[in-house]
């Protein structure tokens, strides 16, 4: 699941439409939209709203593969409608900074400085927004740094100023950039997929097989040992299901677990017949 956090309805609208998200009825106090792959929440403006909504989303739905803050930002010279991915977020008030690992090559990253109100005196080094620092602070409490990203669309610059930006114009800008934003989002998601270890044999998971506790009286220490031995058993490519038959030939649970361990210690894996 990919969680998308957006401050304004005007910023969310075209994303909702392109991703074909449906509104959730029971998501008060936030407006939340979902499909089977994405969850989008409209947080309201400002760092605090963004931080609260991020925490709420985690509390309500738990972990996600990716947490992305999408929204508008100002810049002194960048072209309106251009898209930037944050590799650094600064909190304008406290001066605190966070670096975001960018795992995708060939994209244009930038520094997002989060301020309390639309910035008139922009530095040409930073993009300015009002939510990213609240987002990252809350997201870092619930997931890993690599799974947190902030994608901004330039909505105003020194020529096209934020004072002149109305909701309709903002919607137009976001709509025009939505395809690029979603492509970037997909690239980030794909880069996380590379994290799957290619050298790992496709062994069956340790969840496979039977529940020893239902067949034998088992202490918590034995349960812990059983789980670890089951992991190792699967990792070397041996069948957990076949253990069920062996279990009957061992009088006690300890005997059975000792036998499993001795098998793992005495029989090497064949790399010619690696699972």
């Amino acid at each position: 699941m990919i969680n998308i956090l957006v401050a304004l309805n005007a910023e969310a609208k075209s994303i909702r439409q392109v991703l074909k998200l449906r509104a959730l009825q029971d998501s008060a106090p936030w407006r939340c939209y979902v499909n089977d792959r994405y969850r989008l929440i409209v947080t309201g403006t400002g760092s605090l709203n963004m931080a609260m909504a991020t925490s709420w989303l985690y509390g309500a739905y738990g972990a996600a593969s990716l947490w992305v803050n999408i929204g508008s930002a100002g810049h002194k010279t960048a072209e309106v409608g251009s898209v930037v991915i944050a590799n650094k977020i600064e909190d304008g008030k406290s001066g605190q900074t966070w670096f975001i690992p960018i795992l995708v090559n060939g994209i244009s990253p930038g520094t997002i400085c989060t301020v309390e109100r639309a910035e008139v005196e922009c530095s040409d080094l930073n993009f300015y927004d009002m939510e990213a620092s609240g987002f990252i602070q809350a997201a870092l409490r619930v997931t890993e740094r690599e799974r947190i990203h902030s994608i901004k669309i330039v909505s105003d610059n020194a020529i096209e100023r934020s004072d002149d930006l109305d909701e309709l114009r903002l919607m137009e800008i976001i709509e025009a950039a939505t395809e690029t934003v979603l492509t970037r989002l997909q690239q980030i998601f794909d880069s996380l997929g590379l994290g799957v270890d290619k050298t790992m044999p496709k062994s069956k998971t340790s969840r496979e097989g039977f529940n020893l506790g239902k067949l034998r009286r088992i202490s918590s220490a034995q349960e812990h040992r059983w789980r670890e031995l089951k992991r190792r058993w699967s990792a070397v490519g041996w069948s957990i299901d076949s253990l069920r038959q062996t279990l009957d030939s061992h009088k006690s649970t300890t005997d059975f677990l000792d036998w499993m361990e001795s098998e793992l210690l005495s029989k090497p894996i064949s790399l010619e017949r690696k699972p």
Binding site: A235, L264, K274
Partner: protein
């Protein structure tokens, strides 16, 4: 492939920083106060970073020369290691670095001159004793050579310290700089070798054994002292055939009598590192087969360890004197 470059403000204008940035000119770069802001903070995912790491250019503060772990060496009286870089470009499944750091980013320290001062002080303090300095504990010594110029800088320095020996540990074939230098008698280039099956299965991104042996041969031809590190030996059903084949190829391709040393060690990790690695790769056979905890380490049983070491030692002995063979357990 490096995705972006972080630079500590303190080394922003350092000549080696400029060289590194020239190499990565197309990559975004960011300045920071201390490398700890991006190296090893909490909440990082080592595996995700390892796929596309960033480069961090920094200054090494504090202790730069460390006592080498027990049984690391091959003779000599005092053993130290130093690391101009943390983390490795290769992705060997058994590597303890995965358990040591939360971050997979490459951290390069550019203040080489400070390392030299500390080495000089250590040599001075040792008097007439033989002192060994190892590089390649926290990184591969040569893998980044074309970019960092590490060996090119450090090796000539050792000509001024005859009682100091530098050992560069590597799997890399980046030996061009060495071939252009005058070999020094107190420098050993030690290559980690393993069976083909292990190299192709769990030494991801590392050069093939064929290429490593070729690099060793070229260095020997050029007059360098070369050593072989058969460590970690891995226990698998076909290990006899695999290691016999490796040793046979060493005999055929290298001047084994001229090898500085061959060290043997079975797969073992400190308990804490092993647990982290088993958590990172719960489905990997390496952390499941034949492993038990003993004396603060996770490794093979005593019987398996002896089996591996005895077998390989016996094979190596057939081609070189046993005084040059070292067993590490």
């Amino acid at each position: 492939m490096v995705t972006q470059v972080y630079i500590e403000e303190a080394v922003r204008h350092h000549a080696r920083t400029a060289k590194l940035l020239e190499h990565y000119s197309g990559k975004p770069h960011l300045y920071l106060e201390r490398h700890q802001e991006v190296f090893n903070p909490r909440g990082q995912n080592f595996r995700l970073q390892k796929q596309n790491p960033s480069l961090i250019i920094a200054e090494k503060h504090g202790t730069r020369i460390h006592s080498a772990p027990p049984a690391y060496g091959t003779g000599g009286e005092q053993h130290y290691y130093f690391s101009h870089m943390l983390n490795c470009v290769y992705d060997c499944r058994y590597c303890f670095l995965q358990g040591m750091y939360r971050s997979a980013n490459y951290l390069v320290f550019v203040n080489f001159e400070d390392f030299v001062k500390d080495i000089d002080a250590t040599v001075e303090a040792a008097g007439d004793s033989e002192v060994w300095f190892y590089s390649g504990y926290d990184c591969d010594s040569l893998a980044f050579e074309p970019i960092t110029g590490f060996a090119e800088f450090f090796i000539p320095k050792f000509s001024q310290w005859p009682n100091a020996i530098l050992e560069l540990r590597t799997k890399s074939t980046q030996i061009r700089a060495l071939l252009q230098m005058q070999p020094l008698d107190n420098v050993v280039i030690a290559f980690s070798l393993n069976s083909d099956a292990i190299a192709s299965n769990i030494e991801e991104r590392a050069p093939s054994i064929e290429k490593r042996l070729d690099a060793m041969y070229k260095l020997q031809q050029a007059g360098w002292k070369v050593a072989a590190r058969l460590d970690p030996l891995i226990w698998y059903a076909e290990f006899e055939q695999g290691y016999e084949n490796l040793i046979q190829r060493m005999v055929e391709q290298l001047d084994c009598e001229a090898l500085h040393s061959v060290s043997l060690g079975s797969f073992r990790l400190p308990d804490g590192f092993f647990k982290i690695l088993a958590k990172l790769y719960p489905g990997h056979w390496l952390f499941a087969s034949g492993i038990q905890a003993r004396e603060g380490q996770h490794g093979y049983t005593e019987k398996v360890t002896e089996l591996l070491l005895d077998y390989c030692e016996e094979k190596v002995k057939q081609s070189m004197p046993s005084t040059k063979i070292y067993r590490h357990q």
